[in-house]
Amino acid sequence: MSFRTIATTRSAMGMPTGRLAIWWVLVSEVVIFGGVLVSYIMHRLAHPEWADQAAHTNLWIGAFNTFVLLTSSLSAVLAHQAAEQGNGPKAARFLFATIGGGAVFLIVKAFEWTSEITHGYTIQSGGFWSYYYTAAGIHATHVLAGMLIMIWVAMSALKNQDLHRVENIGIYWHFVDIVWIFLFPLLYIAK
């Protein structure tokens, strides 16, 4: 039994359904991250003393992770380009590179957090650290979810199936990247 309904194939507003849906997903994500970041920015401005806590974050790890995510975005957009040319296997290879980037990001993050927690900076250590772990944690969850979906998309792209999904997951991945672009200065640079 096929899950592809007639409804899915229609395009009354001249735009593929999947891409339309992914933009709506992003609307809901913008307000979720917006809620966290607005709360954080407000409290940060209200508490200049949080800078003392922020001084203990590692700028270089943050910068490295920014580099990793930006690069993984590049491979995601290259995968999209390959998919547009109808080259599924090539797109899949780029997607796997992106997944690798996500994995590196998460591994680095895991080491960073482990080190911070062993130095005594836990989520309970202060207002900054609470926001630090919460905001970055929600973001990391999104990275992980994006990787899992991307594995599934890449597997079918290998078989040249459902290539339109390559672009959709890419748009999501770029959004996660943009969130990190803002988290990086907010959590690591502002001291």
């Binding site: 395009s11 917006g34 890419g170 990086f184 640079i189």
Partner: protein, 130 residues
Amino acid sequence: MSGHNEATGHAPHRNYVKIWAILMVLLVVSVVGPFAGIRVVTLITAFGIALVKAYMVAKNFMHLDVEKPIIQWLMAVALVLMVLLFYGVAPDVMKDRGRNWEKDAGFHPTVEAGHSGAAGADSGHATGSH
């Protein structure tokens, strides 16, 4: 479904690697910025460049520039909503005193959260003056 090229007229060629290279340069600038030690410079290199980077990713990688106007509006409205949230909440949360209130620096609650204690579980009795 390879149809969206015709449907929306995506720019066929973009040099993604070049854009990535620009992003890398911006990243380096934002990392180096704070070492100047000047607050204004740090703010610009941190948040100004974050805005530029986000704009470049949205425009070139997410292809928001050639996306349907309704999508661009959607994203803009979502961002405006967050600005609205900020300005609605900030007068109460961001300040330590308002028109008719001030935050109480010496505030000691009956229960310290996170350090569970038995106090407060039973009905509190009137304590002396503050």
